[in-house]
Amino acid sequence: MKLSNIVENLSLEVKTGENNLQNDVTGAYISDLLSDVMANGKEGNVWITLQTHLNIVAVSGLKNLAGIIIVNNRPVQEDVLQKAESEKVTIMSTPLPAFEIAGKLYQLLNG
């Protein structure tokens, strides 16, 4: 499934990386520990997290993730958004908590 379908179906707000929405999504991984995502995130995964540290951009790039969904409408600092834009990392945002957005995404991917 294309990232753009997910954005549309889950009403995500795209904060950076508008041009990467044609990326194929292979699944999702939920974690707030950067090192855990470095160890267990898989290429093409959407990463669901509340972690907004600058290093999320590096981790996403390193693992070739399809994009990052920030939950609970957590604010993302401008320097993180700028870095994500320049590294072509897609950051999306949702008002939903992780459990709910994950449930919806699971249904969408496996429905």
Partner: protein, 247 residues
């Protein structure tokens, strides 16, 4: 004789992937002396390979360089480890390296990890994934530091990432930190208001410098006898007239 020692106990060198290239041990020592600092600690992420160079650069200058490290625990909390001697930090480094997440540093994404000598000459590029976490829990990290007779200080407890409070929600009672560190982002008044719950711990504040210009932006003054971790521990606990002041 008790006197004041101005200390900045949290300084990264060019070995930390997130620190600027100009943070060579020699430049750090020079800057610290210029800012009339008496004690610094070199505290790179999960490594201490630039400590020796900083010590050599500070030889015969009057500046004390503590052998330190900033450990990333399995919970991704940052903990400062401070020692007087190179032997302890070397033992700690062995333990940290054997517990560090495997992988090779991606210099383009995370930054370079440069090991230098006291003359700013490049000796090596550390290939380990120093930005990542270790398998050491906060408990084993603190216990390991104490078993090597070092000071264990919870880094920047006011920050909303990589601090013991951001990662665990609160500081467990049975975690025996020698002190909590407040970052430059918070002043004494704010710290008093926000962290009254933790006023049974001694507090310090330091710069967490990643850039030369950051060094000494925040210091803690130790009123004590000599610049050793033992005397610092006494100052943190207000023993025999020793004490600490900041902010």
């Amino acid at each position: 004789m008790l006197r004041e020692f101005k200390a900045d106990l949290h300084i990264h060198t060019c070995l930390s992937p997130c620190a600027e290239l100009e943070m060579s041990p020699r430049a750090i020592v020079k800057t610290a002396i210029k800012k009339e600092i008496d004690i610094i600690a070199i505290t790179d992420h999960n490594s201490a390979e630039n400590v020796i160079a900083a010590r050599k650069a500070a030889k015969n200058t009057g500046l004390t360089v503590l052998a330190g490290m900033e450990i990333t625990t399995s919970e991704e909390a940052h903990i400062l480890a401070l020692f007087d001697d190179l032997e302890s930090i070397s033992k700690l480094q062995d333990i940290v390296y054997s517990n560090l997440m495997p992988g090779v540093n991606d210099e383009k994404r995370f930054g370079e990890q440069i090991v230098v000598n006291e003359k700013d000459e490049v000796l090596d590029f550390n290939k380990r994934l120093l930005i990542a976490a270790t398998d050491l829990s906060v408990y084993s990290a603190v216990n390991t530091i104490h078993s090597l007779s070092g000071l264990a200080i919870a880094s920047h407890v006011d920050k909303d990432v990589f601090s013991i409070i951001s990662q665990l929600g609160f500081i467990p009672d049975n975690l025996k930190f020698n002190a909590l560190e407040m970052s430059v982002h918070i002043d004494r008044k704010q710290a008093d208001a926000l962290f009254a719950l933790y006023n049974s711990y001694p507090w310090i504040s330091s710069s967490d410098a990643h850039y030369l210009a950051d060094i000494g932006k925040r210091t803690t003054t130790f009123i004590m006898n000599e610049p050793t971790t033992a005397d610092m521990a006494s100052a943190l606990n207000n023993i025999e007239g020793r004490r600490v002041e900041w902010g």
